[in-house]
Amino acid sequence: MLGITVIMAQTSVKGTVTDNNGEPMIGVSVLEKGTANGVITDLDGNFALRVNRGSILVFSYVGYVTQELKASANMKVTLKEDSKSLEELVVIGYGVQKKSDLTGAISQVKSEDINNRTITDATQALQGKTAGVVVSNTSAKPGATGTIRIRGISSNYDSGPLYVVDGSIMEDISGIDPNNIESMEVLKDGASAAIYGARAGNGVVLITTKKGKGDGKVSYDFQFSSQHIGHRPRLMNAKEYMQYYLEDGRFTQEKYDKDYDGFSNTDWFDVTFENSVMTHHNVSFQSGSDKGTTFVSLSYQSNDGTLKGDMDKFSRLSGMVNITRKFKPWLEITSNNQITKTNMVTFSDNYEYGNNPILSCMQLDPLTAATYPASNLPANMRAILEDPSKGELLSDGNGNYYGVSSFMLNSTINPLITSHIGREAIRSFSVVGSTAINLPPFKGFVFTSRLGYQLRNTETYGYTNDYYVNSNAYSNWLEATASESSPKFWQWENFANYATAIGDHSISGTIGTSYNESRTFSMSGAYSGNETTIGFKYDNPDFYYWAYATGGADKTLSGGEPIYTRTLSYFGRLNWSYANRYLLQVTLRADAADTSVLPANKRWGYFPAVSVGWTLSNEPFFKRLNWSNVNQIKVRASWGQNGSTASLMGRRYQYASVMSSNGSYPISTSTVAYGTSYVPTSTGNNNLKWETSEQFNVGLDFRFFDSRLSATFDYFDKKTKDLIVTGVTPSNTIGVTVSPMNAGDVDNKGFEFELGWQDNIGDFHYSVNANIATLKNKVTYVEESLGKIDGATYHQLGTITRFEKDHPAWYFYGYKFKGVDPNTGNAVFEDTNGDGAVTNDDKTEIGSGIPTYTYGITVEADYKGFDLRVFGSGQGGNQIWCLLDRSDYAVNKMADFVENRWSSSNTGGTSPRAGASNYAEYMLSSDRVYSGAFFKIKQIQLGYTLPSSLTRRIKIDRLRIYGSLDDFFTFTNYIGFDPEISGTGTSMGVDRGSYPNTKKVVLGLNVTF
């Protein structure tokens, strides 16, 4: 052998390796095929090597397609990124699979679509990027997280998916900096999700964080955003307000003469909102080779929300350390870890009663000024100031008192007062991650033992000042509340993967177990004063802590009890493919819940799945057609079952009927002595079992023109059976709470279409990716003993959403508005049951908050260092119920509500008169239901990357600057703040005054050393 080597003539080769963009690639491995002879490219992508004449060189780099080229003297090698190739790997849960082998419906969102956005929560990146995924938000306040719905509303209340971060199940993924995410895979069909069995009923989102790549890279990303509130609803001005309530009869001119200064015309939006700033820093260090990878990152994100004052703030400091290391050929350790610290100051929105500044700024009368100087207080404020028995009249400290309305005697109060009444700060700290040992004892077999862990700690601290607005909104004392909660979660999973090929047959399999436990220990309490004592030693924020409460303060304390939850699971998966043409996957998972969730005899759920695929384009007959423009045609079909107990909303032992104390009753007149009252907690239901989603999916994948054009088409039909229904009252005569039941079926079906095109015209590279999904949601069965299920309520005006057979889940339930009675000016409703009278029975479906279609489009282009990215998303077919009005108090109203109202001089008005007798019912009628359709351009980003020849001189590999307009343009007919933000769950599509998305002007910087 030695002799042969000597004989073979050696030659010297050299060359440069660059990436798609022509940027030199550092650290690419260049290996003479079949030998150990190799080098790594230098800083400028150059390499030089002596090889045997005629030999083949192998160029490889993590994340890029490996190339084999014949050695020549002066080589120019371009490596293509793996993501653009057919052989892209997709994370599928306990393993990865080649994209070409997929038989289910899995959508992928990659880091390009996640990085450099103004989002703080990774889930928001899914919106508009994948067909069939809807992100709905009840609030866009700083630190709020969205609810993701995959393929419709299946579970009853909580339809959120399961998140799996680097293999570890997580309920809260808000600690992850979106810039640290490599990819997110959405397992949409039942068969793909089946490997997560009992938790996958609402779909699964797999999140893979970044791993180290390249030979030592340091990156710094910086983003600065200036944000402001977008659309401001049109409201009545002072003059219109006064006229309205004169007509209403609630106020007289005398009242105005007495209480109105005659000139105030307050724009409460100006009082409530201001421009504010968001910043984001991210530093990362990474390197990778075939021995292992390291990724270390530190990031800081802050968002001072648009409300004036310090009511809405969020900041997050997070670190990530991801390491893989091969210690032996048969031993690899991977460890992914994040440490996160968040601080949040927050308040309640999407809340119909009073003290919600988002609602208050729309409802406060324009006659009251934001502040009054001490020298010129209105009578009602003077009365508060002069009455020592009342709480404090709050001021800005400079002698200006915050305005208190004498027109609205309810808890709708000046947002400046809201922001000074008190504060709640939430601080949390978490260490989450997973560490695994991978043992490949022989080729094709890997045994993995993985430990997932989440150590979290959340403390809240809040106080409420003494203040007085009116007898519905006051406090004569101070209160300090605090809580601490430390949930600890661990998950141990053991599984083995084996893959082998026998001839044209490829077979692989996975088998394993999973066990997890969470233990939460928390305590919360409050010290407060009362009508006789203020509660704290001094009325000074420095004393608003428990330590400085007075002896007479009232105390409450709760918690101090460990709460455990555990799950045990077994799972297996078998893949078979023949000649890259026929694909088959079979999955089975068995899950057991603990007795706090389900009765022991019903704890096990079994969730099977099967899927098949046929890659038509790999058939010999197809190849013979010689359609060079067709790269791939694949047909897929899948069926699978998944489970859920999410509808129990985390409440424990709901199925059990036990004796519990409901209160203490005094048993003496002369002394203080109590007896305890014990009652059965519920009817009990020992047959409660897993709720099951069964989904059928067919799909088609196409690739044309050198894979420049790709298209994916899916049809799904997802039936959720044995829906768990809680908190229902089949009859008021039962007299006790009815335990949860498996009592309904919901059907979601629809089409999904994803289309991608990319091409180069010379140096100009561009791509277009678009997706659209349709959804039809229908309740197909409700258990006989329930009939129909009532959902959300509004004020004390009854049920507004319902769950009923042959209707969409939680449809809007109200009167159909027919018009205005020209004689009385009262609203007229349709007599839907035709019994000759309009009664409660005539309420009917007047809308639904579920969009029937959603879509998104992303256009990217780059040319000589310039890059442009435009991204928009939209939805339609849904309605928003605009519940931003009140009939009980003299609230300001939207101009649209009142402009053409009936009055004695406008008897043809199309809205009821001011103070119509049935105004409350009218608020809950179809006239207040608006189209929820919108299209939002969520991002227009223009970037410029400085030429590397320039930046290289200052040792910078890449320097990109960009500007962006985020959430800037919205096209909608909705009259409220933001059609994107409304209620979720049973209140889906109900707008009670939610914090809207802000418009953002963004400047950013990406640097790589």
Binding site: P441, E531, A592, G684, T729, I734, L797, D841, D888, G915
Partner: protein
């Protein structure tokens, strides 16, 4: 090496399998239902749930009954302050009225707790506590069904704890329901297991007594027009000598904290002045009386609660009824109501320039005072009185009169008048009883029920809702119109004699029929 791996793999599988027992997690802080009723202490705990239920339901039970009558306005600080109460007061309510619905559900909850006791505490159990629990359960079933039947006419009869296949019970005919009330009350009364007061001044006996059960049974008969049977029950109460008219303090103070379980008390919910547990005494009842405090001054000097929403303002018609009966200056009226001018003399005023939805009349007899508040205007140590001896006496007088014993009836009414230093009547008609009972029982929640029973409701209430009075700081009352369509407000014949079943009941239960007109 490989062998080690296999061992590791196999053992990890076994380890996780062994974990299944870890899935059995016991619930904290509860007791199993099947074993619960095994001793006297536990039976007494279940028994207390009946009283605790009365305590939980008092606010809506009281205020709805009061506002259905011609004695009160829904009031508040402004029009719209409490739309549910305005709708109740103006007869524009329907099956979505949360307060009416809560009374319905609460009475059925009381019935459920009672049924639970009857099912779980064995008839064979000879202990005194067990027997008393069963007797009280029957008495409270009678109590609950008296109101259910009187207000809803044909509510479902639920005589046991329902299982899942029995949730949709149909309407039950009234005769069956009345018979069911009579049976339960009679069994309770005859059991010998209900307590009785030791003597007239016993203020420690707080449980439902034999006499209270007799009074409820009397009302059941009276509602059916069976006056002599009713009178027999009421007379039994009167002749027990365990109850009397309250004279220990001023008439207008009989509801205050110092007079819990006084001689007139037939049934009341206990509260304690316990600064360690103000939450145990939470109630909205006392914040709803008085006037809206934002708009008044001078009241603190009279010890009046610093919080008041004024949701129960007396109507001028009530004031006028006192004047028409005994002139403008009698003790009873002054201890019941104060006029605007009387308040002004006391230094209590409406704030300058303000007005409130009110006739300018102030309810004195149930005024809310600061003395009984426990560190909070929502925690009040006053007991809530569900039934009063005066009411029983009026029922007695009415039934005696109707069954021919006018002399005894007259003496009873005169006894009541004499307590307030009013001259005796020389003759007695039903009209006298109606007027006297209205004036005496302002705080007994019975006015609407009586009007319906007497057939007077339509005449008295047909225009209620045509206007709302507003009294300004000068005492000038103006009427403002909010309902302009007479077909949409006021008591309607053939409809408002009964309350609507909750809409949710109609929506879910296909076997129940809504009452006419709703």
């Amino acid at each position: 090496m490989k062998r080690l791996l296999y061992i590791l793999f196999a053992s990890s599988l076994m380890l996780t399998t062994a974990c299944e027992s870890k899935l059995d997690i016991d619930e904290h802080g509860v007791l199993p239902t099947d074993k619960f009723y095994s001793n006297d202490a536990e039976i007494e705990s279940a028994n207390l749930s009946l009283y605790y239920q009365l305590r939980s339901m008092e606010y809506t039970f009281m205020i709805e009954q009061q506002l259905l009558s011609d004695n009160f306005w829904a009031g508040g600080g402004v029009r719209g302050d409490n739309p549910i109460l305005e709708k109740t007061n103006e007869f524009t309510f329907d099956g979505e009225n949360d307060y009416i619905n809560s009374i319905f559900s609460n009475l059925y909850r009381l019935n459920f707790y009672a049924n639970t006791i009857l099912e779980k505490v064995s008839e064979e159990n000879a202990s005194a506590v067990a027997r008393r629990a069963r007797a009280e359960a029957k008495a409270f079933i009678g109590y609950a069904y008296f109101y259910l039947t009187a207000y809803w006419g044909t509510p479902p009869l639920i005589d046991h704890c329902l299982s899942a296949d029995e949730y949709w019970q149909p309407n039950c005919d009234q005769a069956t329901l009345w018979a069911y009330c009579e049976k339960n009350l009679t069994e309770a009364i005859n059991s010998g297991d209900l307590v009785e007061k030791t003597d007239l001044h016993d203020n420690e006996t707080w449980r439902i007594t034999k006499q209270t059960a007799q009074a409820i049974l009397g009302k059941v008969y009276m509602w059916q027009g069976r006056y002599s049977e009713a009178a027999a029950q009421f007379e039994a109460v009167r002749k027990s000598n365990k109850y009397a008219l309250f004279t220990e303090d001023d008439y207008g103070n009989m509801n205050m904290m110092a007079h819990k379980h006084n001689v007139e008390s037939m049934l009341e919910v206990n509260r304690s002045y316990d600064t360690a547990n103000p939450g145990y005494s939470f109630t909205l009842t006392f914040c709803t009386t008085n006037w809206r405090v934002d708009k008044m001054n001078g009241h603190l000097a009279w010890g009046i609660n610093y919080l008041g929403w004024g949701f129960m303002g007396p109507q001028k018609g009530l004031y006028d009824a006192f004047v028409a009966r005994d002139g403008d200056n009698d003790y009873r009226r002054k201890q019941t109501l104060k006029s605007f001018d009387e308040l002004a003399e006391m230094g209590i005023h409406i704030n300058d320039g303000e007005d409130i939805p009110s006739d300018g009349v102030f309810m004195w007899k149930t005024r809310s005072l600061s003395e009984s508040l426990i560190n909070s205007p929502f925690a009040d140590a006053r007991n809530i009185r569900y039934m009063r001896y005066t009411e029983v006496l009026f029922c007695d007088a009415e039934c005696l009169l109707q069954s021919g014993d006018k002399a005894t009836a007259l003496s009873i009414v005169n006894e009541i008048r004499a307590r307030s230093f009013l001259p005796a009547l020389t003759d007695l008609t039903m009209d006298d009883i109606k007027i006297e009972k209205r004036l005496e029982c302002v705080d007994d929640w019975t006015r609407f029920m009586d009007l319906v029973r007497w057939g007077d409701a339509y005449e008295v209430l047909k225009d209620q809702g045509a206007y709302m009075p507003f009294c300004n700081y000068k005492g000038v009352v103006t009427h403002r119109t909010f309902n302009n369509d007479p077909s949409q407000f006021g008591f309607k014949k053939g409809k408002h004699e009964l309350l609507p079943f909750p809409s949710s009941e109609i929506r879910t239960n296909p076997n129940i029929k809504q009452n006419p007109g709703y």
